[in-house]
C-alpha cells in the first residue's frame, strides 16, 4: 500500500554535499540502486547546470510510442567543470543522448549518472 511520498531530489540533493566522485556516492544508494546499471536513450528536454547538482532531463520514447521524461543526476557543476570540462553549453534541448546510470529504486524514471553519451561521444572522463 502507498506510504510515504518522497521526492527523489529532495533526498538526493543532500547527497551532493559530500559527493567525491561517481564511485563514492554511497548516500545515493538510499534513492538509487547502485548495483544496477541501465542505459536510457532519448532527446534532451532540459539541462540544468546548477548547484547542488547538474540535472539532465531527456524524453525517452518506448516501443509502444509513449514518451516519458527521465531525469539524470550528476555531481555539482563546480566538480564537473574541473574534472570533465563541463559548462553551461554542454547540452541543449534536442540533443540525442544515451545515459548510463543506476536506476531509482521503486521504478521512477530517474538515473544516477555514470556516463553520458552525446551522439556517441562520452562526456565524462572516468
Amino acid at each position: 500500500m502507498r506510504g510515504k511520498v518522497v521526492a527523489i531530489f529532495s533526498v538526493a540533493a543532500g547527497i551532493l554535499l559530500f559527493s567525491v566522485g561517481s564511485s563514492a556516492h554511497h548516500g545515493a544508494s538510499v534513492v538509487y540502486d547502485l548495483n544496477q546499471k541501465v542505459t536510457m536513450t532519448g532527446t534532451v528536454t532540459d539541462y540544468q547546470f546548477v548547484n547542488p547538482h547538474v540535472l539532465i532531463f531527456f524524453e525517452v520514447t518506448a516501443e509502444d510510442g509513449t514518451a516519458v521524461v527521465w531525469s539524470a543526476g550528476l555531481t555539482s557543476p563546480n566538480r564537473l567543470a574541473r574534472s570533465d570540462g563541463w559548462n553551461r553549453e554542454m547540452l541543449k534541448p534536442g540533443d540525442q543522448v544515451s545515459i548510463l546510470g543506476s536506476p531509482a529504486r521503486g521504478g521512477a524514471a530517474s538515473l544516477w549518472v555514470q556516463q553520458v553519451f552525446l551522439d556517441g561521444t562520452p562526456l565524462l572522463g572516468s
Binding site: V11, F18, A109
Partner: protein, 262 residues
C-alpha cells in the same frame, strides 16, 4: 598582561594563553609585531584540493580515521543518538540529525572533509583559509594575540597561529558543542581544542597534522592527518542552502512512492 613577541614564547610546545588585548597596543607596536611575524614563516598560499592517499579512500569522505576515536561515556551516549548519513548505520537526508544537513557550519576540522577546494591567503598578522563550501573563512591570527575571552562559543572556533620554521602551528578553541567531529556523528564538547601543524611537504603538496583534544569527549587526545594538492582553480560558489531550495522544484521532478507498512 600583554603577549610579547619573544623567542621564549615559540620554544613552548603549548601556546601560552596571553591576555588578548590587541586594542591596548599602540598603532606603532601593532605594526612592529605584524612586521616581525610577517618576516617569519612559510608560504602556504594557493588553492588546495583534498588529496588523500589511497589508504584513506574507504573513509575519507566521512571520517578522519578508520577507527572511532577513544570516546568517554559522555561522548558514547551522544554518539548513540546520532543519525548519520554515513557510518555503520546510515539514515536518509530526511531522517538524519546531522547539523550539516540543516546547513550549519561543519566546524573544525570537519570542514576539511567537504569535497570542495580551499584557498590559503597570507597577510601580515593573519593566515586566511577560504573554503568554497559555503564561503566559510577561518582567520588564523599570527600576530601574537592570545585567544579571545569576549567571544561566545562558535561553530568554527577561534584560531591563533605561530610559525615553527615553515610550519604553521594553529590552536583553535572556543567551540560550541553543536557540530560533529565527522560525518559519522562523533561528538565533542565546548572543551574541544584542535591543534594543527600545516606545512608544504613539497611544492604542490600540503599536509595538515591534526591533534584533537577534549577531556569531556575523549579519553585521550587523538591524531589525524589531511592532505592537499595544489590546483590552479578559482574558488567558486557552493551554497549549502541550494539543497533546501532544490526541494521546491520537486513538483517538476520525478517522484516515487516508497511502500511502507502501515
Amino acid at each position: 598582561m600583554r603577549c610579547r613577541a619573544t623567542g621564549s614564547l615559540f620554544a613552548l610546545a603549548v601556546l601560552v594563553a596571553c591576555s588578548p588585548a590587541p586594542q591596548d597596543e599602540t598603532a606603532a607596536q601593532s605594526v612592529a609585531v605584524n612586521a616581525e611575524y610577517a618576516a617569519h614563516g612559510g608560504d602556504l598560499t594557493g588553492v588546495w584540493e583534498a588529496d588523500p592517499p589511497e589508504s584513506m579512500f574507504p573513509y575519507e569522505n566521512f571520517a578522519f580515521t578508520v577507527e572511532l576515536p577513544p570516546m568517554t561515556q559522555w561522548a558514547q551516549a551522544r554518539f548513540a543518538e546520532a543519525k548519520p548519513t554515513k557510518g555503520s548505520v546510515e539514515f536518509s537526508v530526511a531522517d538524519t540529525n546531522d547539523p550539516v544537513y540543516q546547513c550549519f557550519p561543519p566546524g573544525t576540522p570537519r570542514v576539511y572533509i567537504h569535497p570542495f577546494p580551499m584557498e590559503i591567503i597570507q597577510t601580515p598578522g593573519r593566515v586566511l583559509m577560504l573554503f568554497e563550501y559555503d564561503h566559510l573563512i577561518r582567520q588564523i591570527y599570527t600576530d601574537g594575540r592570545g585567544h579571545r575571552t569576549d567571544l561566545s562559543p562558535s561553530w568554527m572556533g577561534d584560531s591563533t597561529g605561530r610559525w615553527d620554521g615553515e610550519t604553521l602551528v594553529v590552536e583553535t578553541v572556543n567551540f560550541n558543542d553543536k557540530t560533529w567531529i565527522d560525518r559519522r556523528g562523533v561528538p565533542h564538547s565546548e572543551e574541544l581544542r584542535v591543534v594543527e601543524r600545516i606545512r608544504r611537504t613539497d611544492e604542490n603538496s600540503l599536509q595538515i597534522d591534526i591533534m584533537i583534544e577534549d577531556p569531556l569527549a575523549f579519553t585521550e587526545p587523538w591524531a589525524a592527518q589531511w592532505f592537499y594538492r595544489s590546483v590552479d582553480w578559482t574558488l567558486d560558489e557552493f551554497v549549502c542552502m541550494d539543497n533546501v531550495g532544490f526541494a521546491s522544484f520537486e513538483s517538476e521532478l520525478t517522484e516515487f512512492l516508497i511502500d511502507t507498512p502501515e
